[in-house]
């Protein structure tokens, strides 16, 4: 088995690497790029802690090979804050205490941003159903749902004023 060359963008930065084709995107992010904000929660592709945005859409980085990313744009939790500080979704998680142990949080925030991108004003039922692929084992989800609703509303306000 030979190493395969792959070029793609992570958080706006060009990445070129030669990798063993078995390398999962999540391992590439964490071990090669040292972007350890993306977490591995389950190893069975169910928990969503490893959620990143692939060409603008959420995907589980544990169910993708790094070599599949040729030409793609990847955004991780490290790539969402702006020059003024936290992304509104991150700020909403802080404000509403949308976490306990924090392990699932990077995936929750990335999913929350996608929910805000696709829904004008997501209600509780919509948010809960959209979170199907993100597991939290601490919170019971209540504050996560509240955080995403607030983060979606803050993101809209920022767009309107920006």
């Amino acid at each position: 088995m030979d190493g395969v060359s792959v070029n793609f963008t992570v958080n706006g930065r060009e990445v070129t690497a030669t990798v063993d084709p078995r390398t999962l995107l999540v391992h590439f992010l964490r071990e090669h790029l040292k972007l350890t904000g993306t977490h591995i929660g389950c190893d069975t592709s169910q928990c969503g802690a490893c959620t990143v945005h692939l060409d603008g859409k959420p995907a589980k980085s544990c169910a993708l090979l790094a070599v599949q990313l040729e030409g793609a744009e990847v955004t991780t939790i490290e790539g969402i804050a702006g020059p003024d500080g936290m992304h509104p979704m991150q700020a909403a998680f802080k404000e509403h205490h949308g976490l306990q142990c924090g392990f699932c949080t990077p995936g929750m925030v990335m999913m929350g941003i996608d929910i805000a991108n696709r829904h004008e004003a997501p209600d509780e039922a919509t948010i809960r159903s959209e979170l199907e692929g993100n597991l939290c084992r601490c919170t019971g989800y209540h504050n996560i749902v509240a955080s995403i609703a607030a983060g979606a509303s803050a993101s809209r306000r920022r767009e309107a004023s920006g």
Binding site: P58, A59, L65, G133
Partner: protein, 267 residues
């Protein structure tokens, strides 16, 4: 994962050539089942041929009386397609009920039907909607395509290219999903063609998807929930696991069939 050589073909012909040249080649579609299975070392191959770079394999096209869905079309694209929602809304509902958002952004119709998981949703959609699977060498009716547990009629090296759905008069989808995995414990697609013929397909309950002819006949005479009253569903040969025993699955087939009919009448 066991080691493999990765291939990134840019055309169907290129993919066919690479698959043919390998003694132990596998196709990679969305990878939502295959990659986790390879990670558990339950599957392996010498050559992994990735279809994701072949643009011609993805896309949705409405023709005269049918909708054609490219094999590499993602579930999210089918669920959100204006053509599918207008022509066969039950198919859009099925695609939108698969897995979760992240899985629907990657998973493909071709991958789902060729993997042929006994609890996958699309097999019921294809069988219940009388679809045809176009491959690189022939057209296969859904009745002949699904042949067993993870088994299809595809030959060595044969590649599914698209799925063609005849647009029915009406169709309905009902799914009882496993709370954790969202795979179907039992799910039903029912459809009635313009000529009156009814098809009712069940997934999740046996080694592979199947039709219930007694229900189809009753619904052809009278397309209503009441028409299903008194039709017994035998639990013989049904799947049994910690989520549902045979009798419960048999019961669910009746309930999901009624809900699918209700869904068809409401659309």
């Amino acid at each position: 994962m066991y080691p493999f050589t990765y291939h990134r073909p840019s055309s169907l012909d290129d993919a066919k050539a690479r698959l043919a040249a390998s003694e132990d080649g596998r196709l990679l579609a969305g990878g939502m089942s295959l990659l986790p299975t390879m990670r558990f070392r339950l599957a392996s191959c010498a050559d992994l041929v990735d279809l994701n770079g072949i643009e011609a394999l993805a896309g949705i096209e409405r023709g005269d009386g049918h909708v054609r869905v490219g094999a590499m079309t993602r579930h999210a694209a089918v669920a959100g397609s204006a053509e599918v929602r207008e022509a066969i809304p039950a198919l859009a509902a099925l695609a939108g009920s698969i897995g979760d958002v992240q899985v629907r952004n990657r998973g493909t119709i071709g991958g789902s039907i060729c993997f042929a998981d006994p609890a996958a949703d699309y097999p019921a959609g294809l069988l219940g909607l009388d679809a045809t699977i176009n491959t690189d060498r022939r057209a296969i009716g859904a009745d002949d395509f699904f042949t067993g547990l993870y088994e299809t009629a595809l030959e060595e090296g044969e590649i599914a290219v698209s799925v063609e759905f005849a647009i029915p008069e009406r169709a309905g989808w009902a799914k009882f999903g496993n709370q954790a995995s969202r795979f179907a414990v039992v799910a039903v697609m029912v459809s009635q063609a313009a000529g009156g013929a009814v098809r009712l397909a069940v997934t999740g309950a046996r080694t592979h998807v199947f039709r219930v002819t007694e229900m189809e006949q009753a619904l052809a005479a009278n397309f209503s929930e009441e028409a299903l009253d008194g039709i017994p569903v035998s639990s013989e040969g049904l799947n049994e696991d910690l989520h549902a025993d045979r009798d419960y699955r048999a019961h669910l087939i009746g309930v999901m069939a009624r809900r699918a009919v209700r869904d068809a009448l409401a659309r």
